[in-house]
Amino acid sequence: MGRLSLNQRAALLSVILLVVGLLIWEAAIPAQKAVGELTEYERLTGGGTPKAGVPPPSQVIVKAWEELSNPFYDAGPNDKGIGIQIGYSLYRVLTGYFFAALLAIPLGFLIGMSPVAYKALNPFIQVLRPISPLAWMPLALFIIQDSEASAIFVIFICSIWPMLLNTAFGVAGVREDWVNVARTHELGHLRTAFTVILPAAAPTIVTGMRISIGIAWLVIVAAEMLVGGTGIGYYVWNEWNNLDLTSVIFSILMIGVVGMLLDAAFGSLQRAVAYVE
């Protein structure tokens, strides 16, 4: 047998870890269900049925197969396909994120280029940045009077900071030489911004965008648990209320997969704008 490449060995190890992990999980479940006498409470909550326990991975896989083979069904407010729920979440994340980028990137440019703007805005940024995005929720609900828009606002507010700070940092760090090249070629401010400063700062800006999208995806789950109605966060909470732990575990995995895909998308964007000095 020839030696496997690094990637092949890593993939093999991953598969082994997965299989071993699933086997341990599967094996651990029956032991947990050492059913004794059911208490009054357990009988009332259906505690005696297998559904109440942590499901084994085989059940989760079956559930995943069911859900993923028909992801877009819509059977009323409390029973929508996983695709629809994720779709709602993505819509909120991308909308809030889009508006955040629309504000943060130009503002970051300004802060990065002007020391006065930086010093003037810095105290506000320092106070607003550490606030948990969910702390804005009551205020948003009161002012906006709309749970949908409030969720989007929470995404907006949590996405702003990494993009704003990274843009400012990237723009301020553009090498003086490159700006001088633009100046000796008589480029106007706008052309300098787009042809020299933007590409020069792009790797730093996109890093900020990547951090922001990650945070936005973390926050949407919590936000949707609060506002309810639709979305993957609501789905998790709803299935918990249904005591359908199989669906809870399945949706947790889906949150991970979607988050990974979002990150990968920005990762490839990052590679596209990267340059070597």
Binding site: D177, H185, E186, T195
Partner: protein, 302 residues
Amino acid sequence: MSKPFLSVENLTQIYPDGQGGDLTVFEDATFGVEKGEFVVILGHSGCGKSTIMNILAGLAEPTSGVVKMDGFEVSGPSLDRGVVFQNYSLLPWLSTLKNVTFGVAARHPKWSKAQVVEHSKKFLAMVGLEGDVIHRKPSQLSGGMRQRVSIARAFANHPKLLLLDEPFGALDALTRGTIQDELLKIWGGTEQTVFMITHDIDEAILLADRILLMSNGPFARVAESVDITIPRPRSRSEIVEHPNYYAIRNHLVHFLGQRSKELSGKAEGSETHRPKRVHIDKTAPAADGPGDAPRRLRAVST
């Protein structure tokens, strides 16, 4: 005497010294550069050569004094004054070709894309960059190749004045020699006026029509203007055979080694602000006998 093409008048640069006082880097720098002339400025670091260069480029403002080109005062950077920076200043996210078209497109906004590319390729070819190389990013090029790109970018724009800020400072000696030759070749085909900074004496003699010598800072001044009386075209291996070569070289070494120090630190101006013109020519039809004739040194006030 009529106004030269580029006229630098009483340039003075004063920086705060960080302790509440002032530091005069250089003062009353006054000199001219004629059209088509290749002028090199030599001096120790700290004498403000780079500051003079930045002022000529319009990237910095002098504390006092003016720079006039073609009769107009220089204020701010312009496409008429091209700059080759020491660290190449290529944009690393653009390919070699794009780095040149970037400049050409800025110079000729009305040209078609094909025209811009063709013009850029022509100048890249002049510095020996052809074929696949021009599609590489600067990070994939050697230091010498990067500086070639930077030179091509500057020449492609036909600036009225080309400013070279220690363009070969970061290159190894062998590469430096090759690119000096290339610079001479590309310059020979144009009527380009060049103003260059260096601290390499041999490089200065090879390239220049005239060398300006600066005394040490603070209170540095442009002390002498030395004519390089070696006919063109020059090549590195042949100029050392020329009878004037070592006479000029010795004069420069002597200045930089000794007199630049003696002349420095004087706040008071001398009777004239213009540099003393030094003309060394052993081939002049004079009655000097062969052998150990003393070198002819005339100081001509201009």
